[in-house]
Symmetry: C2
C-alpha cells in the first residue's frame, strides 16, 4: 500500500494593518477590505482562490498589530519565504509579519482562546498630525485612577448587553474578561483588554462609556451598575474606530 | 503730541505637519502646499491676505515637528487663543502647537540661527504599516559605529557641493554643522543633524550617501574624501522625503 503525501498545509499568518483606508476586515463587493486584499494576494500567489479565516473581524477603521488568519495552502513556496512572497503582493498598509505551519485542527477564529485589544488615547490640547489616524485625542484631563476603577469592574464573566451594538443579535452576551486596565505608553493613555472574545463594537462601547463616566465623575460602583443593568441605552457614545488595535490573539500551544 | 498705538503684532507660530499629502511647503498654483493651507486659514481668520515667512521650505513629502513661521497680524484674537483659532481653520494634517508674540525684528527665516533635522530609519525585514509614511525601512544590517564615523566627518564649516541638488545655484555652498550623529529612538535609527542652514536636499543626500557608503564598507576617511572633492556626482541616491523631519529651529533669545 502506498501512502499518499498530503499536498496542502494549514498556515497561520500574523497580520499587521493600518485600518484607516479599509472598510473593515470582512470582504464586501465594491469596498476595499483587508480580507479582500489578502485573498487577492493569496490568489496571485496560488493561482486559484484561497479563502481565509480570521481571529477578529475588525470594523472599518480599526487597526491590527496581531490579527491572525489561517488557510489551507498548496503553494510550493517554503514557509520561511512565504511572508516575503505574500508581502510583495500586498498593498503597503498590510503586512504579514510571521508565517507558521500549524496542525490541521488550527482555525484562526474557532481555536482562539483569548484576544487582546488596545485603545489609544492622546491627552493633548491639539490632535497630533502624525498620530491622528491611530488614537483619539482627549482635550480634558483624565483621571487614571478612576478609569482603572471602572476597568476593574468588568473583570470575570458578565453579560455585556449594555456594551453590545444595538444590531447585535449574535446569541449569548456572556463574555469572560481576564484583564482590563489603563496604562501609560509614552504620551498615550492606553486601555488594554484581554477576553475570550468580544461582542460587536464592545471594546469601543466600553471605552466611550468609561470616558463619559469619567467626565461625569461616576464612581466605579455606579459604572458597575451600568453593566449589571444589561441595558444598551445606558452606554455612552461608541469611541471612534481609529484608536482601536487588535493587538494579539492567543491559542493553546 | 498723541502717540499712535501700533495695530499689528509680529507673531511666531510653531507648526507640526504630516508632509505626506502636501507638495512641500512653498505655495504653488494647483498644488496642495503647507504654505497654501496655512495662508488660507490665516486669510479666514483675518479676513484679508496674510503672507507668512518660514524657517525651512520643506520639500514635497518632508514632515515637520517644529517648523517656525512668522507674520504680521492685526487679528483681535488674543495670543493665548490664537493657536486654537488657527487650528480650527487648518486641515488635520497641520497643527499650530505654539504661538508667541515676537519683536518686529524677528523673521522666521532670516533670524534663525540653527535648524535641526532628523531622518528616521527603520531596520526591519518588512515595512511597518503604521510607520510607512514616516521612515525609510532598511532591510539590511546597519553599522552604527561606522555610520557615526561618517556623520562626525561633516562637523564644522565645509563646502557641501557634493551633497547639493544638481539644480542648486543658490550661491555659497559653505555651511556650518554643529552636531551630526546617529542614535536610537525605540525601534528606529535616527540621524540628527544641527546646522546653521542647509542646501536644498542636503540632508537627504547626506543620508543616502552614508547608507550607500555603509553598504559598500567605506571607511570614514573615504567618506570624508567625498565631501572634500566637492563633486555632486559622487553622492549616493537622495534618501526618500518621507523619513525626514524638520524638528526644531533655534533663534537668539
Amino acid at each position: 500500500m502506498t501512502r499518499r503525501r498530503k499536498l496542502t498545509r494549514n498556515l497561520k499568518v500574523i497580520l499587521c494593518y493600518d485600518g484607516t483606508d479599509f472598510c473593515g476586515w470582512q470582504i464586501q463587493r465594491q469596498e476595499r477590505t483587508v480580507q479582500g486584499v489578502v485573498e487577492e494576494a493569496l490568489f496571485r500567489l496560488h493561482e486559484h482562490p484561497v479563502r481565509v479565516k480570521a481571529a477578529g473581524r475588525t470594523d472599518s477603521g480599526v487597526h491590527a498589530r496581531g490579527q491572525v488568519i489561517s488557510f489551507e495552502s498548496d503553494s510550493t513556496v517554503p514557509d520561511e519565504r512565504f511572508a516575503r512572497a505574500l508581502n510583495s503582493r500586498l498593498p503597503r498598509d498590510v503586512r504579514a509579519v510571521a508565517v507558521h505551519p500549524v496542525d490541521d485542527e488550527f482555525h484562526a477564529r474557532y481555536t482562539a482562546r483569548r484576544r487582546i485589544y488596545k485603545y489609544y488615547l492622546l491627552p493633548a490640547a491639539y490632535s497630533d498630525p502624525f498620530a491622528r489616524r491611530y488614537c483619539l485625542t482627549v482635550k480634558r484631563d483624565l483621571d487614571m485612577q478612576r478609569l482603572n476603577g471602572y476597568a476593574g469592574r468588568i473583570l470575570g464573566v458578565h453579560d455585556f448587553t449594555t456594551f453590545a451594538a444595538a444590531s447585535d443579535d449574535s446569541g449569548s452576551m456572556m463574555r469572560q474578561i481576564f484583564s482590563s486596565a489603563f496604562c501609560l505608553e509614552g504620551r498615550f493613555i492606553v486601555y488594554r483588554i484581554e477576553g475570550n472574545s468580544f461582542l460587536w463594537k464592545m471594546v469601543r462601547s466600553l471605552v466611550g462609556t468609561m470616558l463619559a463616566a469619567d467626565s461625569q465623575g461616576l464612581s466605579p460602583l455606579q459604572f458597575g451598575e451600568l453593566l449589571d443593568r444589561r441595558d444598551r441605552t445606558l452606554a455612552g457614545d461608541t469611541a471612534p474606530a481609529k484608536g482601536l488595535f487588535l493587538t494579539r490573539v492567543i491559542y493553546d500551544e
